[in-house]
Amino acid sequence: MFELLGIPPQALFGQVLLGLINGSFYAILSLGLAVIFGLLNIINFTHGAQYMMGAFVAWMCLNYLGINYWAALLLAPLIVGIVGVLIERFLISRLAHLDHLYGLLLTFGLALIIQGLFRNNYGSSGLPYQIPPQLAGGHNLGFMFLPNYRAWVVIASLVICLATWFVIEKTRLGAYLRAATENPTLTQAFGINVPLLVTLTYGFGVALAAFAGVLAAPIYSVNPNMGADLIIVVFAVVVIGGMGSIMGAIVTGFGLGLIEGVTKVFYPEASATVIFIIMVLVLLVKPAGLFGRPA
């Protein structure tokens, strides 16, 4: 059996697979950010908090209302998405004509407020959420033990990511959205309700974050800080992929998860920084990101 730098290939396969699983979270979250940035030009710093809210709504559904994981997987994105729509309608839309920076400050402030409220009510050490019984256990793949739930996470996120890409790039609705981004006044002149489109898009981006939150609830603890820890990495992913690029967000999400996974084997101490090192390199060589178009 050959070894690569002292790591048997079997172990490496396992790590690559794990990297892909973590990449799924990066992909869904950065996809949501990319959609929102692409169509609204808003850098949505509340994204991490909305991901956390998704996990919390799933927990509340189970503990207060007895609603199981599968229903929460639909309900939580819907509820958090509606909250997002309200945020867009009453707060963000008022800043639409101003510089990016105002939107960034607003969403960042909102994130701090939301996280603070949850921390006040639920503490910082998190709440238990069990893996749904249908997905408990796992399979031995020979080179690693793969929990069923993690396999489900990869499949679910791939399907959601590709479906989103398809809707935006290949359908009539997507065409309206892209037109509204390119030239809102002209699109409105064709009789399309652009403000409504923008609000719904924000709601959808937020729902994506909440969906990722529900997916994460059974494997990470449901914790008010869970989004804050992740959001910085996800922003790096979006920057590497190219702001606003849908496919870029998906591919870099999975790709960076993979690179991070491999780093955890060879030099675990650097696994928290490797993504930022890549970000710096990419920005030096291609400032618009790997898939971005130069402005």
Partner: protein, 401 residues
């Protein structure tokens, strides 16, 4: 004439009030800990509540000691903690800093306290270096340390047949100290350490590291981490079938709030070492009941209990020394025996180590738990002399050999 009466009056006045004035000592205590991050539940506002309870129970006001308590969030960052500590000592007139979880921050505050010649009673941090090579005449390490945790959980696991270990170590001062102290106990008892992986702190996904631990085929996976890191590693170890596969998990530092967050379903059977558990005797139950009332129904952790106990002993020393002079109070604290309802009788050693028994607990099965927060059953008591590092092996320069 007028001046004379005035003078006379003030002399009489001074005579009347002077006994009270002479005894009036004002002290300012700062509770410095994590108020928003992964250690906020095990220390945080609860530690402030505990410090206030100590002031109440001591009846400080009646004894002529005026106590003011302030608090701040060090965000688990040594630079933030140092800045606050300096400002408290230099500008805000703080006499004593309490709690300070997160070993890297604690070591920084330990150093600043020595420079400014103030007092630090540490409850939250773990590193045994605080009374080892970094020991200081101004610091008391109150509740627990990595040596005691290693003795407790590490010793028990090795005795139960867990003679090969692999560590998941939080990559900062605390994790390194805990890994070092536990590895020493394991090898001393005839076991061996197969490897370790340093995990970035704080982390969320530990599956990759757990898989490496699994591949090592070690009988015991030692979790040299704390708070949210421990919660996520235990949760994910269950998911990857590590315990089902025959390997055992050793949570080297697990707090009551961690078990609460994990839920008994996931945490059951875990063996852990603590200095305090609320459901030990009538006194601890009564105190914890009062604490819970003042702190949103949550039971105290050993860190919060330690802040109470430390504050109480400090006030006793101030009363005995009749001053808040650092050297006098430190001498009194080391001279007077400690005694409180939570930790019982004990003492403070020359190196600053507070001595009391430690307990080995096992987390109950969901079926055994009768009420909320009913989580532990006691399996052994470690006498203080056995739990903490003997002075004969001390690296502390204060200990004369």
């Amino acid at each position: 004439m007028k001046l004379k009466t005035l003078l006379l009056g003030s002399v009489f006045g001074a005579l009347l009030v002077s006994p009270a004035l002479a005894q009036q000592i004002s002290v300012k205590a700062g509770v410095l800990n994590d108020r928003s991050g992964l250690y906020a539940d095990l220390s945080g506002e609860g530690s402030v509540v505990a410090a206030r309870m100590a002031v109440e129970d001591f009846k400080a006001a009646e004894k002529g000691i005026k106590v003011e308590i302030i608090s701040a969030d060090h965000q688990n960052k040594p630079d933030v903690g140092s800045t606050i500590a300096r400002q408290w000592y230099d500008q805000d007139g703080v006499d004593i800093i309490l709690d300070v979880p997160t070993s890297s921050v604690a070591l920084a505050v330990n150093q600043i306290t020595k420079e400014k010649n103030k007092i630090h009673i540490n409850s939250g941090a773990a590193t045994s270096d605080l009374t080892g090579k970094a020991c200081s005449p101004n610091t008391i390490h109150w509740t627990y340390d990595t040596y005691a945790l290693a003795q407790g959980t590490g010793g028990a696991m090795v005795k139960a047949g867990g003679d090969s270990w692999f560590f998941l170590t939080a990559d900062y001062a605390f994790g390194h100290a805990l890994e070092r102290d536990t590895a020493a106990i394991v090898t001393k008892n005839g076991g061996k350490v197969l490897g370790a992986v340093r995990t970035p702190f704080p982390g969320t996904d530990f599956s990759s590291f757990l898989l490496q631990a699994q591949a090592s085929k070690a009988k015991v996976i030692g979790l040299a981490n704390a708070g949210g890191d421990t919660i996520n590693s235990i949760k994910q170890a269950g998911e990857f079938g590590i315990v089902a596969g025959g390997q055992k998990l050793a949570g080297l530092l697990v707090f009551l709030t961690d078990v609460h967050a994990l839920g008994l379903q996931t945490a059951q059977g875990l063996v852990l070492t603590e200095a305090f558990y609320w459901d030990t005797n009538d006194q601890t139950r009564a105190w914890s009941e009062r604490f819970a009332k003042a702190h949103g129904g949550k039971k105290p952790t050993m860190v919060q209990a330690g802040v109470y106990s430390g504050m109480l002993h400090y006030l006793k020393a101030v009363e005995a020394a009749k001053s808040k002079d650092t050297a006098a109070v430190m001498a009194k604290m080391k001279e007077l025996p400690t005694d409180d309802p939570l930790f019982g009788k004990g003492s403070v050693r020359i190196d600053g180590r507070k001595m009391h028994d430690m307990y080995l607990f096992e987390v109950k099965k969901p079926s055994e738990s009768k009420a909320p927060w009913d989580y532990y059953k006691q399996i052994a008591v470690l006498p203080a002399e056995q739990a903490f590092k003997p002075l004969s092996e001390s690296e502390c320069p204060l200990v004369k050999k």
